[in-house]
C-alpha cells in the first residue's frame, strides 16, 4: 500500500461510483491515490481531533446529480473539507464532493495540482454545469469569500448570497440539498482579517485568531443536511424570480443554523451544570 494511505479509506475510495481510467484518474484529474492519501489525514482529524456529528445525511441523493448548498463557517475551507469528508466517510455508498475552488489557488504552485488530484475544480459556471450533467455531487457556498471572512461574533449569521447557483441548478435540473455547518467559527475564531499580509502570501486575506495563526481548535463541528429542494424552470428566469428561490434556500439554511445552534447551546449548558 502507498505511503500514508489507510486501507479502510482506500476501500471507501474504491467504492466511489465514478469512472477512473487505468491510471486511477477520473476525467477531471481526481486521483484515487491522492484522494485516499488526503482522506487518511482528514479521517484522522474528523474522528480524533474534531468531534463531527452529521444529521440528515440520508437527504443527500445516493447517486445522480445534486448540489450541496451551505453556509461558510470558519476560514481556510475547513467547512468544505469536513463536508467532503462526511460524504466520503459516512454516506453509503461514499460520494465524492466536487467543490468549486477560488481562482487564486490555481495560480499558486501545488494549489491547482493538489486540488485537481482531489477532484476540486476552479469555480467556473462551465465546470459546475459539466459536473452536474455528469451526475456528480457539487458543493457550493453562495456566500463566496465574504462568507469565510466572518468574524467570531458573526459566526452563525449569513452574508449576502450569490444567485448563480440557482440558475445552474435549474439549468441542470439538479436538486439542491441545503446544509448548515456549525462550529467552524469556534474552531477558527477570527478576530480580524489582514488584507495586506494576505496579498503578500497570494491569499485574498489572512485570518487572525486570538492566538495568532488561523489554526483550528479541536471543537465540536456539526453538519445538518436538509431535504432536497427542487425548483421548476429553465435557468433563464428574471432576476426577481431567481432571487425568490435563492431566498428560500437561504431561509432554509438559516433555519437549520438556528436549530443547530439551539441544540449546541443546550448541550453546552447541560455539560456545564
Amino acid at each position: 500500500m502507498a505511503w500514508l494511505v489507510d486501507d479502510e479509506i482506500m476501500d471507501r475510495v474504491e467504492q466511489l461510483e465514478i469512472d477512473f481510467n487505468r491510471y486511477g484518474v477520473d476525467a477531471y484529474g481526481a486521483s484515487k491515490k491522492g484522494m485516499a492519501r488526503a482522506g487518511t489525514v482528514m479521517a484522522w482529524l474528523y474522528r480524533n481531533y474534531f468531534h463531527v456529528s452529521v444529521h440528515g445525511i440520508e437527504h443527500v441523493p445516493k447517486r445522480g446529480r445534486g448540489m450541496l448548498v451551505g453556509n461558510h463557517s470558519g476560514g481556510l475551507a475547513l467547512d468544505a473539507m469536513i463536508v467532503t469528508a462526511s460524504m466520503m466517510l459516512e454516506a453509503e455508498p461514499p460520494r465524492l464532493v466536487n467543490a468549486m475552488a477560488d481562482k487564486f489557488i490555481e495560480r499558486v504552485p501545488f494549489g491547482s495540482m493538489i486540488l485537481s488530484r482531489l477532484g476540486q475544480l476552479t469555480g467556473l459556471p462551465e465546470h459546475a454545469l459539466r459536473l452536474l450533467n455528469d451526475e456528480r455531487l457539487l458543493m457550493v457556498f453562495p456566500e463566496g469569500h465574504h462568507g469565510t471572512a466572518k468574524l467570531y461574533g458573526d459566526r452563525n449569521s449569513l452574508v449576502r448570497f450569490g444567485t448563480g447557483f440557482v440558475r445552474l441548478a435549474l439549468r441542470a435540473k439538479a436538486p439542491i440539498v441545503p446544509f448548515a455547518f456549525i462550529g467552524g467559527g469556534e474552531a477558527i475564531p477570527t478576530i480580524a482579517n489582514l488584507e495586506r499580509t494576505g496579498k503578500l502570501l497570494g491569499l485574498p486575506y489572512l485570518p487572525v485568531t486570538p492566538y495568532g495563526p488561523p489554526l483550528p481548535r479541536p471543537v465540536a463541528l456539526e453538519i445538518y443536511y436538509s431535504e432536497p429542494m427542487v425548483f421548476e424552470g429553465t435557468g433563464n428566469e428574471e432576476d426577481r424570480v431567481i432571487q425568490g428561490y435563492v431566498d428560500q434556500v437561504r431561509d432554509r439554511i438559516a433555519e437549520l443554523i438556528e436549530r443547530g445552534v439551539r441544540i449546541r447551546k443546550g448541550r453546552g449548558e447541560a455539560s456545564q451544570s
Partner: protein, 308 residues
C-alpha cells in the same frame, strides 16, 4: 474523391495519405519539403502554398477536397516567417479552393487555440474564445489562421468548410510538440503544477480527417483521443524521469543547459491544462479513437525509446 493535401510530406500528412489511399481516394500533395518514397500514384508538387506554382496545382489538378495541413506549429521558427506561412498560406488555400471548384476544405487546427490559463475551463467547447492570444502571443498566427478559416463558412458558402482542432498527437510518427518534449531521458516540469494532458495516436488523427471528409463535415470541431491524464503520468508511462523545476529557474534555464528554447508563454502549457470537449465530433462522424493511452505510449516508445 480527389484530395489535395497541403503539407503532405510532414509525418501527419504521410499518415493521412496512406489512410486516404486505403479508403479508395486519389491523393495529390503540395509541400516545400520532398517526399521521395511517396506511394505510387501520389504526385507531390514541390511548391509553397503562398506562391503561384501552388495555384497552378489547383488549376490543373482540380481537386474535390483540400486538407490544409501546411501550418507551422513548432516555435523554433522565427515568428515573421510563421505568420506569413500560417495566415497568408491559409488565405491562399481558401481563395484557390473557391476559385477552382473545390467542394470541401478541411483546416487542421490545434487545441492550443484555446490557450492555457488558470481561469479557463477544463473542457473547452468549440465556441470558447481563444485565450491564447494574451497568454501566449507567439501563437497568435495560428489563432488568426484558425479564425480566418472559420470565416470561410460565411464568405464561401458553396465551400463545405471544416475546422478540426486536434489535441497533442503521439505515436509512431515521433514528431510534434509533445513527442519532442518527451524525447529526452529527463523531462523538465514546473514544480507544483501537474496539468491534465489530452493526447491521441497519430493514426487516430488521420482516421478523423478521413472521416470528416467522408461525412462532408461543416463547422468547427474539437478532436481528441482517450480521457486526459496528468502530465506526470504521461512522463512516467513513457519511461522518462520527471525533473520538477521551480518556475523562476525554469524561465532562466530556457534555451540553456539542454532545455528547449521556448517562448515564455510555453510555460503556461506546462502549468495549466488545455483539454477539449469532443462530443460534437464523435456524434457527427461516429468517430471512436482506436488507441488508448497504453497503446499510444507503446507505439511512441517503439520509435522513441528512452535514450541510454
Amino acid at each position: 474523391m480527389k484530395v489535395l493535401l497541403t503539407g503532405i510530406s510532414g509525418s501527419s500528412g504521410r499518415l493521412v495519405t496512406h489512410k486516404l489511399l486505403a479508403a479508395g481516394h486519389q491523393v495529390i500533395g503540395i509541400d516545400r519539403r520532398p517526399w521521395p518514397e511517396a506511394p505510387a500514384g501520389v504526385s507531390v508538387h514541390k511548391a509553397d502554398v503562398r506562391k503561384r506554382s501552388a495555384e497552378e496545382v489547383f488549376r490543373t489538378e482540380r481537386p474535390d477536397a483540400v486538407v490544409h495541413m501546411a501550418t507551422v506549429t513548432h516555435l523554433a521558427r522565427r515568428s515573421e516567417d510563421r505568420y506569413q506561412i500560417n495566415l497568408q498560406g491559409t488565405r491562399a488555400v481558401f481563395d484557390h479552393s473557391n476559385a477552382y471548384g473545390v467542394k470541401q476544405v478541411l483546416f487542421v487546427g490545434r487545441h492550443t487555440f484555446y490557450g492555457a490559463s488558470a481561469a479557463s475551463p477544463l473542457y473547452h467547447g468549440e465556441d470558447d474564445p481563444p485565450q491564447s492570444v494574451n497568454v501566449f502571443p507567439e501563437l497568435s498566427d495560428l489563432v488568426a489562421a484558425d479564425l480566418y478559416a472559420g470565416s470561410a463558412l460565411w464568405r464561401y458558402e458553396n465551400l463545405s468548410t471544416c475546422i478540426l482542432r486536434f489535441c497533442y498527437t503521439l505515436g509512431p510518427a515521433c514528431s510534434g510538440t509533445l513527442a519532442s518534449y518527451l524525447k529526452g531521458k529527463r523531462v523538465p516540469t514546473v514544480l507544483g503544477f501537474d496539468p491534465l494532458f489530452q493526447f491521441m495516436h497519430d493514426d487516430d488523427l488521420a482516421t478523423a480527417i478521413v472521416l470528416a471528409l467522408d461525412k462532408s463535415l461543416r463547422g468547427v470541431f474539437n478532436v481528441a483521443g482517450p480521457s486526459p491524464v496528468p502530465l506526470s503520468v504521461v512522463i512516467r508511462e513513457a519511461g522518462r524521469r520527471q525533473i520538477p523545476v521551480p518556475e523562476v529557474m525554469f524561465r532562466l534555464a530556457m534555451g540553456r543547459m539542454g532545455f528547449p528554447r521556448l517562448p515564455q508563454g510555453a510555460i503556461a502549457h506546462l502549468k495549466f491544462p488545455v483539454t477539449m470537449n469532443t462530443e460534437a465530433f464523435r456524434e457527427a462522424t461516429g468517430f471512436a479513437h482506436e488507441h488508448d493511452h497504453a497503446s499510444i505510449i507503446r507505439d511512441f516508445l517503439s520509435v522513441c525509446p528512452v535514450p541510454s
